[in-house]
Subunit: 355 residues, 3 copies
């Protein structure tokens, strides 16, 4: 399936971009990115239009890039500023430039038409700037799988009991039904597991020993940003669904970036209403997340490899697939809209009148 | 060429299968195999019908397998016994199950229609249960080559002089003609090298110092089980062909299992009428076999790689190819029979009468 | 693009060929080469016509090769001399033999029709046998790139300033225009950089400290042999172009051999009019050449990888591309001539007269 181009994807954390040229690939497009002397991150097509050497093999001259083969030079807007050996700069001497937006330490890139890139639509949450919440960036998890399978996994609470039995799930949730609805452009899948033993994560970070009420809310924003709102509270409180802030609450964020059809990077981080300012706790949580995400990676890569093999039968769908099914449907609609929107006005048929 | 499916292939030795889930591939089909609590070995299609995760990535729950992604569970007959999150079990929730038969410490699998799997047709020899003979299992030799080339090599005595000059052959046999005939469903290629120095193998295990009569009988049973009856006797005895049991006699068995078009496993073992009960001798023979089989592997992999390259001319056939030629012909006939047998009754043409 | 077959390519240095069988690939054709007892180097198709084992996996029996599978034997002309197990030698039992010519320690092979192989057309220079000049063989640089890109780089002086800033070029030449002309079958690109600081190479080997006049003449002989005549002289001499022998002058030779579409070996060596007989200087020069050629290799492999990726736009051509453009045009003409020359006489159309 084609990628959705007119969308913001995460290229990396702010800390990933500085003076050096960084080569990366998003939606199959190779990019060279760097931070200019004014602090702005720029992203260019990573291929010199002359002999096609990746510009990331060249070097920075001020805020421009000089190609490493014959010295052709481009500025941060992709415009050629020098062709050694000649005075004129041909109109065809340019590289594509991409819209970039940086916020909360996250660098977003718009892979489609830059004139459509509206920074108001970049994903945001009020908790990023709420002093009662702590934000902590993790890493980028590299997965040899299609991004749709990675994103689908993030609107699928049912896998947690089986894939993460020691960290994020346990047997108590195996048969608890999943609710699915949509909230504007987001898909939400959730369930509460009431009055059950705490999972490993909250034994460690909630200090719970007795039974808890536990919730998982999976919000998936098209095309591929997920917020997993999960937490626990003492079962004695019988916490109402809307009072989750009274429990220990964590937002695990996943920015799922398609690299190629077969490769995805999941930049993960979290926001939490506990242990604010405690970086030791951040490190311990990261360690636990890494165990869980390595479990996802193994499953997702094995499924991806199987999808590449011949199939005797069409895969079946079951009750817990409601979230993934809605997600796939919306992605197909978005792809269809993008691939047809440039066709222009419908052509009126011409009738030829026969005598 | 398609694989022959309605046939018994060796999946492994009995010792290879226990409580753990074993993933393997035969005739291009991925399988998960394990031994149930009643001691029976079962073989299932290694792909969950839901999200296609290999079931071998899951875990055993009693005699069933629970998928590692969403917990869908299958018994040893491939029938789904649980779908977490719902009560009904859809009819499409199953995996294929394969017929398995275990005998003499060897596990056989029938890759085709299980209703055609007749255990009376599993390869056998009376010497397996003859106390005057000693059976010793070797290993599984992995070869990056098509199984037909591996099997063809086992009805081709002529290669021994050139590929195994220090172990199983020597120069005395280079020009001795090969006889080929068929015995029912088996192809037999053989030759006697009379009154010649013993080969390395029988210098060591026969205790021969003077000249010997040496024989090689290659029996190839379709699709790919080989018995190489070879041995030596003092040349002074002038041994008749049917008195081979009076010499030192070994049956080298090769169970050639197609994994993919480009990968084959040769499970090898031997039966012998000498050194019965002497496991030190078994180890010494295995060491010598391993030298010889590594020589075959090198040749077969190099030929396979060449077959993948473009060819300017069709390969030529020479006199010593009679055994391989008969084998290829019979394989083609079997494949043709399998691929056409499901076409049903010929359809009678319909004539439309015009006025 | 198809390879040019009716041409001499360098298979290796004389020191590379002896008694042992050497397997190599040129223009996509696998070859086995060895030196016979009379000192002649022979080259045969590296594939037995019987079961396709590479003959290089066999062994020499005198001046013949015995196949490692069934002992079929071929002489240095590719003629079969033995088929074990039969007396007659079938006419189809042969391998192709290629014309080989050895001169100045270099082994050339003609990949096309041997009857067209004219040793008078093997590349030569009078300086190979001039006692005032010193010849020194380097190595074979393996490059994962198409040979046309490698050869094009050798008629492109403009890349030197950017790819080799510390060894063979420096910033003084960045904007000096390149002249291009043709001399018979060779393409020549050259420029003089007058009254400028010496490059690293001539600081070391010319003993220059003040400004020099520096020249680069790139001669590219079809299909892929390059002579780079480069040197320096004290700027005070204001050296005329034809008096280059009065300066420190080096001919860097590159014999570019296509292995496959994606792999090339560049056998490089040099001739020099300085430090004659001084092998320590040879070693020091090689060390500097290796730095520069590793820089070329990195660029060429990155360009080749990019050429394999989908292209949104056609690459652009700029002023400095004149040499490469002429080269590409001549190669296309040669390929077209080779691929059409065997079509024979045009077939006269047949007219059928209707009543």
């Amino acid at each position: 399936m084609p990628f959705i181009r007119n969308a913001w994807y995460v290229a990396g954390w702010s800390r990933d971009f500085g003076d050096d040229l960084v080569a990366l690939t998003i939606t199959g497009q190779t990019l060279v990115m760097y931070r200019t002397s004014t602090g702005e991150v720029v992203a260019l097509e990573d291929r010199c239009p002359h002999r096609q050497l990746p510009l990331s093999k060249g070097k920075r001259i001020g805020d421009t890039i000089q190609c490493g083969y014959h010295g052709m030079t481009f500025n941060g807007q992709g415009k050629c500023t020098r062709v050694p050996g000649q005075d004129n700069l041909p109109a065809s001497a340019y590289v594509d430039a991409y819209a970039v937006h940086e916020r909360h330490g996250i660098v977003w890139i718009w892979m489609g038409d830059p004139t459509l890139a509206d920074t108001d639509t970049v994903f945001d949450l009020p908790e990023f700037s709420d002093p009662a919440w702590h934000a902590h960036q993790g890493e980028g998890l590299h997965i040899e799988a299609n991004y749709l399978n990675v994103a689908e996994n993030l609107v699928d609470p049912a896998h947690v009991s089986f894939v993460h039995p020691t960290t994020l799930g346990n047997a108590s949730s195996e048969n608890v039904p999943v609710h699915v609805s949509t909230q504007g452009k987001a898909i939400v899948a959730w369930r509460w597991i009431r009055d059950a033993p705490p999972i490993g994560f909250f034994q460690k970070f909630g200090g719970f020993s007795g039974n808890v009420d536990r919730w998982h809310y999976y919000y998936l924003h098209l095309p591929s940003t997920a917020v997993i709102d999960f937490g626990s509270a003492d079962a004695a409180l019988n916490l109402p669904e809307d009072d989750r802030n009274k429990g220990v609450r964590i937002f695990a964020l996943h920015f799922v970036t398609p690299v190629t059809e077969d490769y995805t990077i999941d930049h993960w981080m979290h926001l939490r209403n506990t242990a604010v300012g405690d970086e030791a706790a951040s490190g311990q949580m990261d360690a636990m997340f890494k165990i869980a995400f390595a479990e996802d990676k193994e499953i997702l890569e094995a499924c991806h490899a199987e999808e590449k093999r011949p199939q005797k039968r069409k895969p079946i769908r079951i009750a817990i697939d409601k979230g993934p099914n809605v997600y796939r449907k919306r992605i197909r609609d978005l792809v269809e809209a993008e691939t047809t929107e440039d066709l222009g006005e419908p052509v009126a048929p011409t009738f030829i009148q026969h005598e």
